[in-house]
């Protein structure tokens, strides 16, 4: 593929806003919706696909930086294809996958003689989180070891079950405190929170000394809802639209 930055016509050091702006400008021009009557609409569509892919790739690289604390663990590489719509009740394939997670010390020696654990590991490496979950659930509770909890955490995370993902990652780390893979996984899940808190600082958290102000606003919001609703007249006067 072409250099995604060149496709969007932005500098490598461009800010996220600049990238979004560049994408929007190009998208307005080449989006299929804007080219319905264009005799060269196929070319426009090709161009749009290229722009879309470039944008997604750049954003993926950018988000890797903050998604998991800048670690080597990418988000993309979604092997579980389950696109939204295919199976809305099944595993949604795209819940952050675990590309590049299996370097380091997770060589498969010793740990994975147990067939269920081995199967789960293989499923996870291919992005089949639901299958991994099923395999893992087939193991009796008393046989579940640190490795089981580790895989279970990853499978859960892939399925969007982030509460038990963190829980199981912590259990794996507690069962085998020396294992850096397990510890890294815990850190990675917890970092999601610290990334958010860093950004939050810019928008003012509604506690500091202003807890009451915040409460007043909440109450004001409720009252506003009530008066709009019960009177049934909010925005009901003159005026028109369309």
């Amino acid at each position: 593929m072409n250099d995604p930055y060149r496709v969007l016509g932005v500098d490598r050091n461009a800010s996220e806003d600049e990238i979004k702006k560049a994408y929007k400008n190009l998208s307005r021009k080449y989006h299929p919706d804007a080219n319905i009557n264009n005799p060269n609409k196929e070319q426009a569509e090709e161009k749009f696909k290229e722009i879309q892919a470039a944008y997604q790739q750049i954003m993926k690289e950018k988000t890797e930086g903050y998604t998991y604390g800048g670690g080597p663990y990418g988000r993309g590489n979604t092997a579980g294809q389950g696109r939204y719509g295919d199976n809305p009740f099944g595993g949604f394939g795209g819940f952050g996958s675990f590309g590049g997670f299996y370097g380091g010390q997770s060589d498969n020696t010793g740990y994975e003689e147990e067939p269920i654990i081995r199967a789960a590991g293989n499923y996870i490496r291919s992005g089949y989180y639901k299958e991994a979950r099923n395999a893992l659930d087939g193991m009796e509770e008393q046989n579940r070891n640190a490795r089981w909890y580790y895989y279970s955490a990853i499978a859960n995370s892939g399925l969007g079950n982030n509460v038990s993902a963190l829980d199981h990652a912590r259990r794996a780390a507690a069962l085998e405190p020396g294992n850096t893979d397990y510890q890294n996984l815990v850190t990675r899940f917890e970092n999601g929170g610290s990334w958010y808190e860093q950004r939050q600082a810019r928008y003012g958290y509604p506690t500091t000394g202003g807890g009451n102000i915040c409460m007043k606003i909440c109450i004001a919001n409720l009252i506003c809802n009530v008066c709009c609703g019960s009177s049934g007249m909010c925005c009901g006067g003159q005026g028109f639209y369309y």
Partner: protein, 280 residues
């Protein structure tokens, strides 16, 4: 389950609030035009947020107008209305309709029952237009209600089911953004469901009604666990948000996502603090 996704007005510029309010009034107007007063009753700030996010992403032609509100008869309010306003209004009515049914099952509140009936025929309008979506939401609502009756205490399953409902609502059409929007809605839904549970926990224990956090409530780390879980949900949600090419009103949306969503949480926590002091 409404009123959690709001702005933190204290941290907002006046101009920004006016824009936010104009989307709110626009939604209110469309709800009234399409569904009458009953529809208007269902208006929520959460849906205003969804409308603004989708408008920022798709940038449809938006018509600015004015209307007067009975609460402020001399002051004209600005309205912003676009193609997505109607979609969001439909979703608003749909959710309220199910929520009313839910309350009726649970608590048999008379006025809610009346409202539920009022909306019933109206919400069929959306059923025709969004059959597929409505069917999915319908199924998920049943799943959620059944799981609550069975007293399922798996936090991921319960909040995830509501998450899937929000995910359905977040995706107005299948296109290059559906996956991002789906994940965004999924985690936002989990956040809303759990914040609602957090707010109601004491009352639910008193009344003996369902609450997914009951098991955790007895733990001394209850407060901390809830905060961690809720932060995790918003963090996942915002990661999706930041990858979307949204520029229009992005500061308002960030005010909501990084600050406003914690207003209700803090209000609940503040209220609970003295009670905790007495306990000790």
């Amino acid at each position: 389950m409404f009123g959690y996704i709001i702005v933190n007005k204290a941290e907002m510029k006046f101009k920004e609030f006016d824009v936010y309010h104009s989307y709110y009034c626009g939604l209110c107007r469309v709800l009234k035009d399409k569904y009458g007063v009953a529809g208007q009753l269902s208006l929520s700030y959460d849906m205003t947020f969804i409308l603004m996010l989708l408008s920022g992403l798709y940038e449809p032609e938006t018509i600015r107008g004015e209307c007067k509100c009975i609460a402020h008869p001399f002051e004209a309010h600005e309205t912003r209305i676009n193609l997505l306003t109607e979609y969001v209004a439909d979703m608003n009515v749909l959710l309220t309709y199910y929520q009313c049914q839910d309350d009726w099952d649970d608590e048999k509140k008379l006025h809610k029952l009346v409202l539920g009936r009022l909306l019933q025929s109206k919400s069929r309008k959306c059923q025709a237009a969004y059959t597929e979506k409505v069917r999915n939401i319908n199924m998920l609502m049943f799943q959620l209600s059944d799981a609550e009756k069975e007293n399922n205490e798996d936090i991921d399953v319960m909040s995830g089911t509501f998450g899937k409902i929000m995910a359905q609502i977040m995706v107005p059409r299948e296109d290059e953004w559906s996956e991002n929007l789906y994940r965004f809605g999924f985690y936002l839904g989990k956040f809303i469901y759990l914040l609602d549970a957090y707010e109601d926990i004491e009352e639910d224990i008193k009344k003996g009604t369902y609450n997914p956090l009951k098991k955790k409530y007895n733990s001394p780390e209850f407060e901390e666990t809830c905060k961690t879980i809720l932060t995790m949900m918003m963090s996942e949600c915002c990661k999706e948000f930041e990858t979307l090419p949204i520029l229009e009103n992005v500061e308002i949306l960030r005010n909501i996502l990084y600050s406003g969503v914690w207003c209700r949480y803090e209000a609940v926590r503040e209220k609970r603090k003295p009670a905790e002091g007495e306990k000790q």
